[in-house]
């Protein structure tokens, strides 16, 4: 996919603080550190040439056993300009990222889901608690080191044994 013109605008404004992730099959990638995510998101939303007003998706990825281990991926879309952009934010372990619920309120449940599945803590989130799993659940099921069948307990006889038991 050809490099969209708006990339230069972002690079010009942020300089070294963001990295050009190159063109993907579907859209352009921008790499950003957790300290600059919120500022970049506001910039992307408020600049008239960009106006990324629609957060399509927000999800986590676990690159276990690589380091830094986690990544939060934001898929942005602009209804006015009909263009898309992917932001990637690499996080260490334990993972912490700032919340973007202030920028797009739809991020609320997406971030809760990412927290529930990967244990990525979104600092400043108004209601960060598990969304799919129950509150007493231990562990983060989408992590690569979490077994597909879960851990053995009274209700899950087919689960794997926990280490050290």
């Amino acid at each position: 996919m050809a490099r969209p013109a708006f990339c230069d605008l972002i690079m010009e404004h942020f300089g070294d603080r963001v990295g050009d992730g190159g063109a993907g099959i579907d859209m352009h990638n921008i790499e950003v550190g957790p300290e600059n995510v919120v500022e970049l998101c506001w910039f992307l939303k408020d600049t008239p040439e960009l106006s990324f007003d629609f957060l399509s998706d927000l999800c986590g990825v676990d690159y276990y056993p690589d380091s830094p281990r986690f990544e939060v991926v934001y898929h942005l879309f602009s209804i006015a300009h009909q263009h898309r952009l992917r932001l990637k934010c690499r996080l260490g372990d334990p993972p912490h990222a700032p919340t973007v619920t202030g920028v797009w309120s739809t991020a609320n449940w997406h971030e809760r889901e990412t927290f529930d599945m990967y244990g990525i803590v979104f600092d400043g989130h108004p209601n960060l608690k598990r969304i799919y799993m129950w509150d007493e659940f231990e562990g983060y099921p989408m992590r690569k080191d979490f077994p597909q069948r879960g851990y053995k307990d009274a209700y899950n006889p087919f689960g794997e044994e926990r280490e050290g038991q």
């Binding site: 099959i25 629609f54 209804i79």
Partner: protein
């Protein structure tokens, strides 16, 4: 309804008023599945709504990481089980983009026909279910009658009524059987007349109008901020449809209108879907007129099963490919892709990361119902009473299987 707890008692001038926490669900007929809502109520007035989801969580994304690309299709069926071909299509397009393959033209037409039939199937359900939530049982019985015709069509074409897994990587599983095109045309002739019937039943019904007109209004700005998509967004006046604006398959070759409404209330979300079904019928008819002859899947034995099953008995090469495909699946080049399609509920996105093996490294489903349901917590105007909340929930059209993944 269970678990009513007194939160606080406050003395007003003329008596005692109590705020209570009310559990709506998870098992309640008007919750459209196992959805639990905790409502902070002051008499009949809803002060705060908090949805609790996850009762139907199956870990689709986790399972997908351990399945081959072909095995994932039955998982996608079970997301929005009202219209499985849409879910299949989104995932198929994502994998095809990673593989960089072009699907034959005939297959693209068949896909669009199936997806639009699925859209009608999904909309028929909600067009009947919303009035039923509001006490008008009749419409649902009629829409189910038409939906039954669709189910029969699905059975005829795919061999299954619900979980079709019909759209595959590289095309569709089988060509239209004999007589299918005629049956679809017949359905397209009947449906618009029946849509008029539904409108005559409820669209001018005083009770229905009172319960939906001006109730649960979402402004366009709020709708975009909350991430609404599909008919819910268009009912608020935002003119955006992925089929027209970022066309996939052959949507750029058919002529259709994108239905938008202005008010953004429950009634508009309902009528928007009725009108969308008319447009779907138009799309299907054009597709059936234009559909060319040719292959219905790519000619790549490493990706698609052989069309001529007799080849398995006499060609060693076909036999080997078939065995490898069944036993190990096919490898997908390293890369990542996010594809969005216009599913009946809104933007259905698949984010697939491949590490070069037969199984995806990560598959994320951007489920439209999940995002749409979140609107219940958001900024909705004129949703005061418990009865309005039921209308609001019905008009958002969440399918809990898709919400919970």
């Amino acid at each position: 309804m269970t678990g009513v707890t007194v939160l606080q008692e406050s003395k007003r001038g003329d008596g005692i008023s109590q705020e209570v926490l009310l559990n709506l669900g998870p098992q309640h007929p008007s919750t459209h599945g196992v959805l639990r809502l905790v409502l902070q109520m002051s008499g009949e007035i809803v002060k705060r709504t908090e949805p609790f989801i996850g009762y139907l969580h199956r870990g689709t994304e986790k399972l997908a990481e351990n399945f081959t690309y072909t095995q994932i299709f039955p998982l996608t069926d079970r997301l929005d089980y009202v219209c499985p071909p849409s879910n299949n299509l989104g995932f198929a397009i994502a994998v095809e983009q990673l593989l960089d393959i072009e699907v034959p033209e005939r297959a693209q037409y068949i896909r669009v026909v199936m997806v639009e039939l699925a859209r009608i199937s999904g909309h028929l359900l909600i067009v009947g279910a919303l009035p039923m939530d509001l006490g008008a049982m009749t419409v649902l019985l009629y829409t189910m009658r038409e939906r039954e015709m669709l189910m029969d069509l699905m059975e005829m074409i795919t061999g299954a009524r619900m979980h079709t897994s019909y759209i595959r990587v590289g095309g569709v599983r089988e060509d239209f059987p004999e007589g299918a095109v005629e049956r679809i045309r017949e359905f397209c002739d009947i449906l618009p007349k029946r849509l008029v019937d539904y409108e005559r039943l409820v669209a001018n019904n005083r009770v229905f109008l009172r319960r939906t007109r001006g109730v649960g209004v979402i402004t366009p700005e709020d709708a975009i901020d909350m991430g609404l998509s599909g008919p819910n967004l268009r009912a608020s006046g935002v003119d955006w449809d992925i089929r027209r604006d970022c066309p996939y398959e052959i949507y750029d070759r058919v002529d259709f209108n994108v239905i938008t409404r202005e008010a953004g209330d429950c009634y508009d979300r309902w009528i928007c879907r009725v009108d969308e079904m008319r447009e779907s019928v138009r799309i299907i008819e054009q597709c059936l007129d234009q559909i060319p002859d040719g292959a219905f899947q790519v000619d790549m034995p490493t990706i698609a099963y052989p069309v001529d099953k007799d080849q398995l008995a006499c060609s060693m090469e076909t036999h080997i490919h078939h065995f490898e495909l069944s036993a190990y699946g096919f490898k997908v080049p390293k890369g990542e892709v996010y594809t969005a399609i216009e599913a009946p509920k809104g933007e259905l996105g698949y984010y697939v990361i491949s590490d070069g093996s037969e199984k995806p490294f990560r598959m994320k489903v951007r489920a439209p119902s999940f995002v749409n349901l979140q609107a219940l917590e958001g900024n909705i105007q004129n949703m005061k009473y418990l009865a309005d909340l039921i209308a609001m929930l019905g008009s958002l059209d969440p399918v809990i299987a898709e919400v919970d993944k």
